[in-house]
């Protein structure tokens, strides 16, 4: 690998120039990695807050009755498709919590609790009391609890719009992190709600969580196709959160533009440094050509220089970028001491950025490499 050896030696001989371009590249890549990961984290935490602990696809009834029959068959079809990570069913209805002086509207949500937990992480979010153990147990949200002024073990009477009342025991209190839910949901067993609202074996919704949240619309339409049932409608979070999505899209686009501009400036900087290096080393290249080095090998010297600068600069840049990110998350905190932004380190993003930087920097070597092709040894020798 003569070309590689010469490339390495050229870089070593022009130490200041090499250090400057490598450091320049490292700084640029670090900003690219920092901006990319930060915006990615921001986006993920935003998405997570919005839809993380809720279903991304929901099937509800399209009929006037509002309930779905034969849902077991649908669930097994959906599960066979394999694009979902959790499928749960719910029988929910509006009701009222009554005592002597209140009559508060609530949404009673009956879940198949084991399955629902995989979507809502209910059990992890019980901050006081325990899980639902029997058909008479219910969970109450933090905000509703404050209004009702109740505690674990208290009895709660819930009546359906038709006026049928049932009494339950509060087994615990949850906090799902969304005030509107904490204020309105009473979580119960599926069978409990089916019974008090007279649903029989029917349910009101099938809810799903998917791994690829941004592919929820595609998955939803596939499910719709497979189920092929006019009595239901399949909705996904993207339809319901168009504002959020367009904001995320805007953010993504600006992030991509910033990153592209950074990479472009890196390419231009490296190409111009290497182009100058062709001039500086024209005597060496000329004499190597006189000694019989082939044009391809001579131009590879500059490609290898680009590659070497790219390798070192991008590794330093990624390390520096991660350092910046940790510094950022350490020094910017909420008043309660938690990080302002929860960091998601996307390793595929890092590897992709690194690869792009290395490839771009190697490609930057093409311009000087082409210049070296035109270098005629006679001119070098004549100039002396």
């Amino acid at each position: 690998m003569l070309s590689f050896r010469i490339a390495l030696r050229f870089l070593k001989s022009g130490k200041t120039q090499t250090i400057l371009i490598v450091v320049g590249m490292a700084i640029a890549i670090s900003i690219q990695v920092f901006v990319g990961l930060l915006l990615d984290s921001l986006q993920k935490s935003l998405v997570n807050q919005t839809i993380g602990n809720s279903p991304q696809i929901i099937i509800t009834s399209a009929t006037d009755i509002g309930t779905i029959r034969d849902w077991e068959k649908m669930v097994s079809i959906i599960e066979r498709l394999g694009s979902t990570k959790a499928v749960s069913v719910s029988a929910s209805a509006n009701g009222f919590v009554r005592d002597e002086n209140t009559n508060m509207p609530v949404l009673v949500r009956g879940f198949n609790l084991e399955r629902a937990d995989r979507i809502y992480s209910i059990n992890n979010r019980i901050y006081e009391g325990g899980r639902i153990e029997s058909r008479r147990d219910v969970l109450v949200g933090r905000d509703l609890r404050e209004e009702l002024e109740v505690s674990v073990g208290d009895r709660l009477t819930i009546s359906s719009p038709e006026g049928i009342s049932s009494t339950f025991t509060i087994s615990g209190f949850y906090d799902l992190g969304v005030a509107s839910i904490n204020k309105s949901w009473i979580i119960a067993n599926l069978e409990t709600t089916q019974q008090i609202f007279g649903f029989d074996r029917r349910i009101t919704s099938i809810e799903m969580a998917v791994d690829d949240v941004f592919g929820a619309d595609t998955i939803a339409s596939r499910i719709e196709q497979e189920l092929d049932n006019e009595d239901i409608k399949v909705e996904n979070w993207k339809e319901q959160n168009e504002d959020l999505l367009s904001a995320l899209n805007g953010q993504q686009t600006s992030s991509t533009i910033i990153q592209a501009v950074i990479i472009l400036s890196v390419v231009i900087a490296i190409a111009s440094v290497l182009a100058i290096s062709v001039l500086q080393k024209s005597r060496q290249i000329g004499i190597l050509k006189a000694m019989g080095i082939k044009d391809l090998s001579a131009s590879m010297i500059f490609i290898y220089q680009g590659l070497l600068i790219g390798l070192v600069g991008s590794i330093l840049g990624v390390a520096l970028g991660l350092g910046l990110l940790y510094a950022f998350s350490t020094f910017t905190k909420n008043p309660d001491g938690t990080s302002l932004i929860e960091l998601y380190i996307g390793y595929d993003f890092i590897i992709r950025s690194w690869l792009i930087a290395v490839v771009a920097s190697t490609l930057a070597g093409i311009i000087p490499a082409r210049k070296s092709l035109r270098l005629n040894p006679i001119e070098v020798i004549r100039e002396g």
């Binding site: 005597r283 082939k294 006679i378």
Partner: protein, 228 residues
């Protein structure tokens, strides 16, 4: 004796706003193992002739054969290969690569082709270093040597691939008389020991007179061709 350089009816015209013809119908042959000089004023066309023989330039018309290869027909890569294996260059300036040491510079033509087994090359390099009296600076960076040592290193480099022809363009132009004498002595030794053909371009008649054949070129034409 077989000829190693053969030029038949060679013209060279530099195209431009005004075409300039610098070589006119040159017919010239050099035998294997001969020791020759090419003299002429500056601008006489001798460097152009040397570049054509060195395959760095191509004739506008005529035929050039180097070690039996018609260079008119060869691709750039084939020419590079031919230069690497057949021709050694020594220029007025040493043109060593300053990024490399003396020994690395000397081995550079070998590294380009890698056609010989490494052991024999190392041995040959040692021989050349001894012969040229530069063994003490073999690991010096090219820039950390005296002018004479640099030029001798460049000579060792020209000889490492055991070329058939050495083309030397004013090889002692920058050296003092003592170094100059040493270098011509070494050229002779190499010529006798390895049978290498030498073509030395010079404007110094005294140097030319030490060679076996003097070819003089004037205004692009051969005007004198004397053999001893």
């Amino acid at each position: 004796m077989a000829s190693v350089v053969e030029l038949k009816n060679v013209d060279k015209i530099y195209r431009g706003a005004i075409d300039t013809q610098v070589l006119f119908d040159i017919n010239l042959t050099f035998e294997e193992g001969s020791f020759n000089s090419l003299v002429g004023e500056s601008g006489s066309g001798k460097s152009t002739l040397l570049n054509i023989i060195g395959t760095l330039d191509k004739p506008t018309r005529g035929e050039v054969k180097i070690a039996g290869n018609r260079i008119n027909d060869l691709s750039k890569d084939k020419l590079a290969e031919l230069r690497n294996t057949t021709i050694g260059f020594v220029f007025q300036f040493h043109y060593l690569l300053p990024e490399f040491t003396a020994i690395e510079n000397v081995l550079m033509p070998y590294s380009i082709s890698k056609k010989q087994p490494a052991k024999s090359v190392a041995k040959r390099a040692e021989e050349l270093f001894d012969m040229l009296n530069i063994s003490t600076v073999r690991n010096n960076p090219a820039s950390k040597m005296s002018g004479g040592q640099q030029q001798r290193t460049a000579i060792a480099r020209a000889l490492i691939n055991n070329p058939k022809i050495v083309l030397a363009d004013e090889p002692t132009g920058n050296l003092d008389s003592e170094n100059t004498a040493t270098i011509y002595k070494i050229f002779r030794e190499i010529n006798q020991q390895y049978g290498t053909t030498f073509l030395i371009v010079t404007h110094d008649r005294r140097i030319a007179e030490q060679t076996d054949r003097i070819v003089e070129i004037k205004d692009g034409k051969i005007v004198v061709d004397i053999r001893k």
